[in-house]
Symmetry: C2
Subunit: 138 residues, 2 copies
Amino acid sequence: MKSDVSILIAALGLCFLRASAAEPAPAEALYRGPDPFRQIAREQWLAESPHAFAVRDKNPQAPVHVLVISKNPVPTMLQASDDLLGEMLGLAKRVAEKEGIARDGFRVVINTHPKGGQSVYHLHMHVLGGRQMRWPSG
Amino acid sequence: MKSDVSILIAALGLCFLRASAAEPAPAEALYRGPDPFRQIAREQWLAESPHAFAVRDKNPQAPVHVLVISKNPVPTMLQASDDLLGEMLGLAKRVAEKEGIARDGFRVVINTHPKGGQSVYHLHMHVLGGRQMRWPSG
């Protein structure tokens, strides 16, 4: 009987250890991925604000497709202050005006974590225009 | 000769008048459309911040589809201050946490003017999640 209890305790312990090992905070693991935005040369910037800059997307999904990227590598909008997010949308508006898509129309998209479609864990916003954007938005 | 000049001036004047009449700022006309967001009862609010509130979209495009709407009827993000935009994204984050889609992922979409897909000219942001969001975003 005593050995049965020992085995049970040992088994429960193993289950607990396995569960801990199998569930590292998934967000943390995602955040350790490569960050190609850190390699962008300043010469490629289209515009900037104190804490963000704008560059063309390398895989454009519309005639105008610009990324507004935080200068500090915050992983997602969840870690960003309201001030930074407001400043980045302000820059997105300036980019839309500069690219001539403000009047006809444009879409701003912010993807967070895998189901949102985020691929680079360095805060960025997509500014898309120059064609009719469809609905739903992906 | 004098009458030729008069005719020229009159013709130029007419052209100018025609151009003015034919090109009212299209944005201004759009902004005069109906605003169903003003009729939303406070009981339907899921959450609020000082200058914005959140409600479910009546035509959901995902299991979770919430709108973050400005309390003051600003027509588009182009007329909004960075402070208001930051506050609204802050509320969008809170909504994502509350609806349980922050960890798996979600998408925030802001449509501006017709080519962006804006249908109601009262500033709002879409918060979408609960399924895999596709790319491109419409």
